[in-house]
C-alpha cells in the first residue's frame, strides 16, 4: 500500500514498471516464501540424495489436513477474526465422516462426503452467528466453541473408530500426470481454486477484505458487516470439514480428540503473510508456509536430530520471521 502511494511521485518510470513494482511489493512475502521453499528442497536433496518424487508425494499427502486448516484459518483471519475452534471442527467432521462411511456403497459415500462438507459450512455459520449476535470478541467465542465442538465429536464417536471410503485414500496419495506432481496437492489446489477464486473477485470476497481491513469504513460503504463475518466463518468451517475429511482419508478412521491443528494453522497463516489485524494476505502464502514448516521437520529427521526439536525449530521460524517482518515495518515507518 505504501508502494502504491509513493510510486506516482517518482518520475521517469513507465506505467509498466510501476505496475510491476506494485505487484512485487504486494507479493514479496509470497515470493520470499517460495524462495525459502525452493532453498529447503535443495537443502533436502543435498542432505538426502535419494529424496525423490515418492517422498514429495508422501509429504503432500501428510500435510493435506493442515494445509486445508491453514486455508480455512486464513479466510477468517483476513475477515478480521480468528477461529480457535478449527481443530475441534476438524475432529467433529473427521469422526462424523468415519462413523457414516462404515459399509457404504461408493455412491452413498460421495453423498456422505458432500454432507460432511455442508455440515462444516453450517458449523462455521453457527460460529460466525454467535460472534455477530453475542458481540463477544471472536477469540473468546471460538475458544468457547472449541469445547462445544470437541464435546460433540466425543458424542459422535467415543473412541477412535469408523472407516473411510475406499476411494478416498487413492484420491489423496500418489501422483497426477507426472510423478513430480502429487495428487494431494492437485486436490488441494482444485478445492481451494473452485471455492475461493470465484469468491475473491465477487462482492463477498471484496467484503471479506473490506471488513477485515476497516470494519467501520466497510459498514459506511454499505457492506453488511454481520453477514460478511458469518460468511467468512462458514467458509472456514467448510475448509475445516475438508481438513477433517482429509484426516479420515489419511488415517482410515475417525479420532474424536482434536489434533494440534488450531495453533499450527495460526502459525502457518502468520508465516504465510496474512496480517492478524485482518484485511491483508492471500491463501497461497499459508499453503506454502505449511510446506515450509513440514519440510523443516523432514530435514531434521534426515539429519538425525531428535524430531522433537522440530517443534522448537517451527516455533523459532515463526517467531523469527514475524520479528524480522515487524522490524522491517518499524524501520520503514521511521524512514
Amino acid at each position: 500500500m505504501t508502494v502504491a502511494t509513493s510510486a506516482p511521485s517518482q518520475p521517469g518510470r513507465s506505467a509498466a514498471t510501476r505496475a510491476l513494482v506494485r505487484g512485487v511489493g504486494r507479493d514479496t512475502w509470497t515470493l520470499g516464501l517460495i524462495g525459502l521453499l525452493i532453498a529447503l528442497f535443495v537443502l533436502t536433496k543435498m542432505i538426502q540424495p535419494t529424496y525423490g518424487s515418492s517422498q514429495v508425494q508422501n509429504l503432500a499427502t501428510s500435510i493435506l489436513p493442515l494445509a486445508l486448516a491453514a486455508v480455512g484459518q486464513a479466510i477468517v483471519v483476513i475477515s478480521g477474526g480468528i477461529d480457535l475452534s478449527l481443530g475441534s471442527v476438524m475432529a467433529l467432521t473427521n469422526v462424523t465422516a468415519a462413523a457414516l462411511l462404515v459399509g457404504q456403497t461408493p455412491e452413498m459415500s460421495v453423498a456422505v462426503v458432500i454432507g460432511v462438507l455442508l455440515l462444516g459450512l453450517v458449523i462455521g455459520a453457527i460460529n460466525g452467528s454467535l460472534v455477530v449476535l453475542s458481540r463477544v470478541p471472536d477469540i473468546i467465542v471460538t475458544l468457547a466453541m472449541l469445547f462445544v465442538w470437541a464435546g460433540a465429536a466425543l458424542l459422535v464417536l467415543g473412541t477412535p473408530g469408523g472407516a473411510a471410503a475406499p476411494w478416498m485414500r487413492p484420491l489423496t496419495s500418489g501422483s497426477f500426470l507426472t510423478e513430480w506432481l502429487p495428487r494431494a496437492l492437485v486436490v488441494l489446489l482444485i478445492f481451494v481454486g473452485v471455492v475461493w477464486l470465484p469468491l475473491r473477485r465477487s462482492r463477498l470476497g471484496l467484503s471479506i477484505y473490506a471488513v477485515g481491513s476497516d470494519r467501520l469504513a466497510a459498514f459506511r460503504s454499505g457492506v453488511s458487516v454481520g453477514q460478511t463475518k458469518i460468511a467468512a466463518y462458514a467458509l472456514t468451517g467448510l475448509f475445516a470439514a475438508a481438513g477433517g475429511l482429509a484426516l479420515t482419508a489419511a488415517t482410515g478412521i475417525g479420532t474424536p480428540i482434536p489434533g494440534p491443528y488450531t495453533l499450527l494453522s495460526v502459525a502457518a497463516v502468520v508465516l504465510g503473510g496474512v496480517s492478524l489485524a485482518g484485511g491483508r494476505g492471500g491463501l497461497l502464502g499459508p499453503i506454502i508456509a505449511v510446506y515450509v514448516l513440514s519440510l523443516v521437520r523432514t530435514d531434521l529427521t534426515f539429519l538425525g536430530i531428535d524430531p522433537n526439536y522440530s517443534t522448537v525449530i517451527q516455533g523459532v521460524i515463526m517467531v523469527g520471521v514475524v520479528m524480522v517482518g515487524a522490524y522491517l515495518t518499524l524501520r520503514r515507518q521511521r524512514a
Partner: protein, 333 residues
C-alpha cells in the same frame, strides 16, 4: 439470570431501576460471580449433600489456586490488550526442571533454576512484544511451541536421572495446616493481595490499564510502553512458573504436557472474571472467583457423572453465556 431477577425487583422500587442494577454489576462484577458460585455450590449440595465437606474444600482450593495464578498471567496480559499463550508450556517446563534437578541440586536450587528459566522465557516474550512489536498472540504462541519442544527434549535427556517432586513442594501444594487450612493458601493469599493492590494502587498497575486503554495516548503522555510490556511478560512467565511448580506438587507428577489442559481454562477464568480481552478494563479479584467457579463446575459435572462429551459442551456454553452477559452489561449503559 440474576440481572433479570434484579430488573423485575427494580420496576417496583423506583430507586432500584434496571440501570442501577446493571451499573452495580458493571462496577462490582464480583457480586454476580459470587452469586453464580453460590448457585453452583447449592446445586452441588442438592445433588449430593454428603459432598459438601472439608475434603471438597481442600481439593477445590488445591486445584483452583494454580489455575488462579495462571489466570493472573492472562489478566495482566489482557489488561494491556495482550494474551499469554505460553503459560502452559512455561509452567510445565518449570515443573519438569524442578523435579529433575531436585534430586541432585536440592530443592532450593531446583526451584530457583525453574523460576529463573521461566523469567528468561518471559524476557524473550517481552522483547518480542515490547521492542519488536510482534502481536502478543503470535509471540507467545511461538514461544509456547519452542518451550514445549525444549521441554520434551530435556525430559528425554533426563529420563535416566529420574524426576521426583521435592516433598517440600508436595506439602506446600497439597498439604494442610491444622488439618483444615490448605498450605497453598499461605502462599496464594499474600500473592493475590499483592497483585490486587499492585493493580489498584501502584504506578505499574496504572500503567498496565493506561497501555491497554489507549496505547498511543499512553506513549504520548511519556509512558515507555516497551518497558511496561517487557516487565509485564517477565512477571507473567514467573507467575506461570510458580503455577507449574504447584501443579507438579498437587499432582505429584511432572511432564512436558502437565499444564496443557489448563491453558484455555486460564483464559476462560480471566474472561469470566470480567477482564476485557481488548484491554483497559477488569481486575484480578474477578479472575480468582472465575478460577474457583471453573474448578467447582468441574467437580459438579464430575459428581453428576456427566459424560466427558457433554461436560466439554457445557463448559464451552457457560464461558460463552457469561462472556455474552458481560458484554451486554458493560455495553448498554
Amino acid at each position: 439470570m440474576t440481572s433479570k431477577a434484579g430488573a423485575a425487583d427494580g420496576n417496583r422500587s423506583p430507586w432500584l431501576t434496571a440501570g442501577a442494577w446493571r451499573r452495580l454489576f458493571r462496577d462490582q462484577p464480583l457480586i454476580p460471580l459470587l452469586l453464580l458460585l453460590v448457585v453452583l455450590l447449592v446445586v452441588l449440595w442438592w445433588i449430593r449433600p454428603s459432598i459438601i465437606n472439608q475434603s471438597l474444600f481442600i481439593n477445590t482450593i488445591r486445584f483452583a489456586v494454580p489455575l488462579a495464578i495462571l489466570a493472573a498471567c492472562q489478566t495482566l496480559a489482557m489488561l494491556t490488550g495482550g494474551i499469554d499463550l505460553s503459560v502452559a508450556s512455561v509452567a510445565s517446563i518449570a515443573a519438569v526442571v524442578m523435579a529433575t534437578q531436585a534430586p541432585t541440586q536440592g530443592p532450593v536450587v531446583a526451584i530457583a533454576l525453574a523460576l529463573g528459566l521461566a523469567a528468561a522465557i518471559g524476557l524473550v516474550n517481552g522483547i518480542g512484544i515490547g521492542i519488536f512489536r510482534v502481536h502478543p498472540l503470535i509471540m507467545t504462541l511461538g514461544m509456547g511451541l519452542i518451550v514445549f519442544g525444549l521441554a520434551i527434549v530435556y525430559q528425554r535427556m533426563m529420563v535416566s536421572a529420574g524426576a521426583t517432586v521435592p516433598p517440600e513442594v508436595v506439602t506446600l501444594a497439597s498439604g494442610t495446616t491444622f488439618g483444615f487450612i490448605p498450605n497453598v493458601l499461605l502462599l496464594f493469599v499474600p500473592l493475590a493481595a499483592l497483585i490486587i493492590l499492585a493493580l489498584r494502587r501502584s504506578g505499574f498497575g496504572r500503567l498496565l490499564y493506561a497501555v491497554g486503554d489507549n496505547e498511543v495516548a499512553a506513549r504520548l503522555s511519556g509512558v515507555r510502553v516497551w518497558s511496561v510490556l517487557l516487565t509485564l511478560y517477565v512477571i507473567s512467565s514467573l507467575l506461570a512458573g510458580v503455577a507449574g511448580l504447584l501443579y507438579g506438587g498437587a499432582i505429584n507428577f511432572v511432564s512436558a504436557t502437565l499444564v496443557d489442559l489448563y491453558l484455555l481454562p486460564s483464559v476462560a477464568a480471566a474472561v469470566i472474571g470480567g477482564t476485557s480481552i481488548f484491554g483497559g478494563h477488569g481486575g484480578y479479584s474477578g479472575s480468582i472467583v472465575g478460577a474457583v467457579i471453573l474448578t467447582v463446575m468441574a467437580t459438579l459435572l464430575n459428581v453428576m457423572q456427566v459424560p466427558e462429551a457433554i461436560r466439554q459442551m457445557l463448559f464451552g456454553a457457560i464461558i460463552l453465556v457469561v462472556a455474552a452477559a458481560y458484554t451486554r452489561i458493560t455495553e448498554e449503559t
